[in-house]
Symmetry: C2
Subunit: 219 residues, 2 copies
């Protein structure tokens, strides 16, 4: 009887300790998985070829420094990590490296949607026309005020946001920040905001509205 | 002997279960404490008097809607929660409600530091001169490029950052975002960036540099 009690007692203790350790391990794993990081700009000027073609590290012979990790190369890598979708909502988009990343993802079959400010999508150097010509879904926010967001959502999971417009001046010259997070409480509102602005600028919807206004005016 | 074994066994089990429950309670408390939220703009136009004087909710007789919670009132409340320090790093600062919040905190003895872009600190409506006249420590980033950040850190604990410049147009008209978080991995880099730019624009340091350059030129 005493032996049985001992065995049962020790068994319960062992089980509880195991559960405690398992819980601790899971919580450690969870906290490690939630990515939270900040990049600051201006980025060092360096070759970013290795972010596009990781295996040709030594093959690029441009005059810029090589094998240097910069804020831009890190940002590119986060964007290029997209495997299913990339939603981009930008006031201004003229940076050719960032545009190349979006085009590369598109060529790999990643579903891309781009929203930009109407006024800034037509300025010199804007990549919006190039993305549209490549077959990427682009909508320009047509409201009379600025669509001043500068964010992207990778695979409906990773938020990239901050002060940085995707322009050469912002990347190479300005003091800027980019915050990258997987925290659901921060990512979800941006997914909803993207969807809201995307639908708000649906050309089919706008065409129907114009038709409705014409009908009312004619009546 | 058997009774002793029983008591010791049960005691260990009870202790382990208690520790497990205590750990769970602590982790729940911790996850609840970590604030993560997002505000979107434009903000509804409404009276924000109650955020400054919470007890005089019904005493304001301006023509704007009252008792309405808006993105601006929420942002003001987060800023006004500062009890020891507020560090503000803004490209453009002309919004009078946000300026009033900073001045109110200053009058209560909260330690305030403000960094702004040199070019934009002198434009019409800028609050930078008003803050400086009130005795608040202000430094203007004198580099030839844009200091394009739009962030604030409350009590070295709470980060407020996003696309929103603290201007009336940004608050009332533009599509903008403000991300508010206590996540240390996100807050700490911004504290360091503030300190870096603050020291970079130390007038004493700059005065020494000018003296050094003059001495070299004279030599």
């Amino acid at each position: 009887m005493m032996v049985t009690m001992k065995v049962v007692g020790l068994g319960i203790v062992a089980l509880t300790v195991s559960l405690e350790l398992f819980g601790w391990f899971l919580s450690r794993l969870r906290s490690r998985r939630t990515l939270n990081e900040v990049l600051f700009f201006p980025s060092k000027v360096a070759c970013v070829e290795h972010t596009f073609t990781p295996n040709s590290h030594h093959s690029c012979c441009c005059s810029l420094p090589h094998s240097v990790e910069t804020s831009l190369s890190h940002l590119l890598r986060r964007i290029l990590s997209a495997s299913t979708s990339l939603d981009v909502c930008l006031f201004s988009f003229s940076n050719m490296d960032l545009s190349r990343a979006v085009l590369l993802l598109h060529s790999k079959g990643v579903s891309i949607r781009v929203i930009s400010d109407k006024d800034y999508s037509a300025i010199t150097g804007s990549q919006i026309g190039i993305l549209r010509k490549a077959g990427i879904s682009v909508r320009c926010d047509g409201s009379s005020v600025h669509m001043h967001h500068k964010f992207a959502v990778v695979d409906s999971r990773l938020l990239i946001t901050g002060s940085l417009n995707w322009t050469l001046t912002a990347v190479q010259n300005n003091k800027e920040n980019v915050l990258i997070t997987e925290e659901p409480d921060l990512v979800k509102p941006f997914i909803q905001e993207f969807q809201r602005i995307w639908l708000l600028n649906d050309p089919a919807q706008n065409y129907q509205n114009i038709k409705l206004i014409s009908t009312v005016q004619e009546a």
